[in-house]
């Protein structure tokens, strides 16, 4: 049994909470009796989630694991649990509430955030430190959730013909890490690729709306963009972010036009006191 298959199995096991979509007990029995994993199990997973989604998650897991290879998690379990609670709540306001969402803070002091297909989202410690309240965090995570639900990165992979969802590229070997790795190119390079400008503007609009739906103050994400716009272009902490995203000023302007006066009467919570403060 390849380690990656084992990982995928473990990964499914961990998601008991999201398991209502299929008969989890039955799957568990299968796991017990049919290890090592055989194609039947893969089929069971696919049946439960649909082939495209299972593949999307397998791709995302590989990318996320590579990203963590470059920058591991901040070793603070309370922090990680906290961002997952906020993230899950925001994501559950989206049209893909049943994805197995994962959120994390990674050790990099860069100011950046990353989304991988299937619901893997990471914020750098550098960005986390800029946050002033929970609504800010909700807005940032909402932006990344936007990339996932609109499949922005997956579409890049598809466009480059690396992935052919529905076209069987992966279907024989979901979770086969070498094969998945082959599909996503080198390491976690995909997360450093620039998306179309419009994809970023779209994710900004989604981030604001998801945070609002979740009951937060709508102006968290715009506030963070304002903070980031404050950085000088030549500051190494934002080099990659500025390279791969439109300038925060442009994003603010576009977002401002889109928001217009729609949020004037919308009150929300900032939850400044509840924001988990990261250890120095």
């Amino acid at each position: 049994m390849k380690p990656s298959i084992k990982a995928l199995v473990l990964f499914w096991l961990l998601f008991a909470g999201n398991a209502h979509a299929f008969d989890f007990g039955k799957l568990e029995d299968k796991l017990k009796t049919e290890l090592p994993v055989n194609p039947k199990l893969v089929e069971a997973v696919k049946e439960a989630r649909g082939p495209d989604e299972a593949e999307e998650i397998a791709i995302g897991r590989q990318i996320a694991g590579n990203l963590l290879g470059a920058s591991p998690l901040v070793k603070d379990a309370k922090l990680q649990k906290y961002v997952n609670r906020v993230g899950e709540w925001v994501a559950s306001q989206s049209e893909r509430p049943d994805l197995p969402w994962h959120f994390g803070v990674i050790q990099s002091d860069d100011v950046n955030a990353f989304a991988a297909p299937g619901g893997y989202i990471f914020v750098t410690r550098g960005l986390y430190r800029l946050l002033q309240n929970e609504a800010d965090l909700a807005g940032v995570l909402g932006h990344e959730i936007g990339h996932v639900i609109r499949q922005h990165h997956l579409k890049i992979l598809q466009q480059s013909k690396l992935v052919d969802l529905g076209g069987k590229a992966l279907s024989k070997e979901v979770g086969g890490s070498d094969k998945v790795q082959h599909l996503i190119g080198s390491g976690a390079e995909i997360v450093s690729r620039s998306l179309d400008k419009n994809a970023e503007f779209e994710a900004d609009r989604i981030g604001v709306v998801l945070a609002t739906r979740a009951g937060y103050d709508s102006f968290g994400l715009p506030g963070v963009l304002q903070q980031i716009g404050h950085f000088a272009k030549d500051d190494g902490d934002v080099a990659l972010l500025f390279k791969t995203h439109p300038h925060p000023d442009d994003r603010l302007e576009k977002l401002g036009t889109a928001m217009d006066d729609r949020f004037d009467r919308v009150k929300g919570k900032t939850l400044e006191k509840r924001l988990y403060r990261i250890k120095p």
Partner: protein, 171 residues
């Protein structure tokens, strides 16, 4: 002993003042108008217009309320839409970023920015050559929460879910 106690009190008072006074002193953060917009007497669209600010006008940001900044613009004061303002002055100073941002990010006065130039940062090369880390991804997955947990957490913060349509792409 009395001397020492007094000294301690004085230090305490000074510390307290630093903690309490510093944010007030820093609250006047400078901003620049991203676009022309009206300065309002109150943070509402229908409020009386004090005057119109032009693109590039400088403002001092005093506080924030929802989507509005309370600002001072020349001799006038009032409220302006947060999204019409960029923080900082138009000419971006390389290392001169200061104020709330630095406080918030813990960058103030640490010299970290200079000290670590060139060695920090997730650059494309690092990402390209990154190796899959099974242990870390499994750890990340171990922190997942389910919807019921998230719902409870939201309720604790008095967050109420509400419908809100996605925003159309501006023309």
């Amino acid at each position: 002993m009395g001397m020492r106690t007094r000294m301690r009190e004085w230090c305490g008072a000074a510390m307290l003042c630093l903690l309490v006074c510093a944010p007030a002193a820093m609250a006047a953060e400078s901003g620049t108008m991203l676009k022309a917009d009206e300065l309002k007497a109150e943070p509402f669209r229908d409020a009386k217009t004090v005057k119109t600010l032009a693109k590039g006008d400088k403002v001092d940001i005093l506080s924030k309320q929802g989507g509005w900044f309370k600002v001072k613009a020349g001799k006038s004061g009032g409220w302006v839409r947060m999204l019409s303002v960029r923080k900082g002055t138009a000419a971006k100073a390389g290392s001169g970023a200061s104020g709330l941002l630095d406080m918030a990010s813990g960058r103030s006065g640490t010299g970290k920015v200079v000290a670590t130039t060139g060695i920090r940062g997730l650059n494309e090369e690092e990402l390209r050559t990154a190796q899959f880390n099974e242990k870390e991804i499994a750890l990340a997955e171990s922190y997942a929460v389910n919807k019921a947990d998230a719902k409870k957490f939201a309720a604790q913060g008095k967050l109420a879910a509400r419908p809100f349509d996605y925003l159309p792409e501006p023309k």
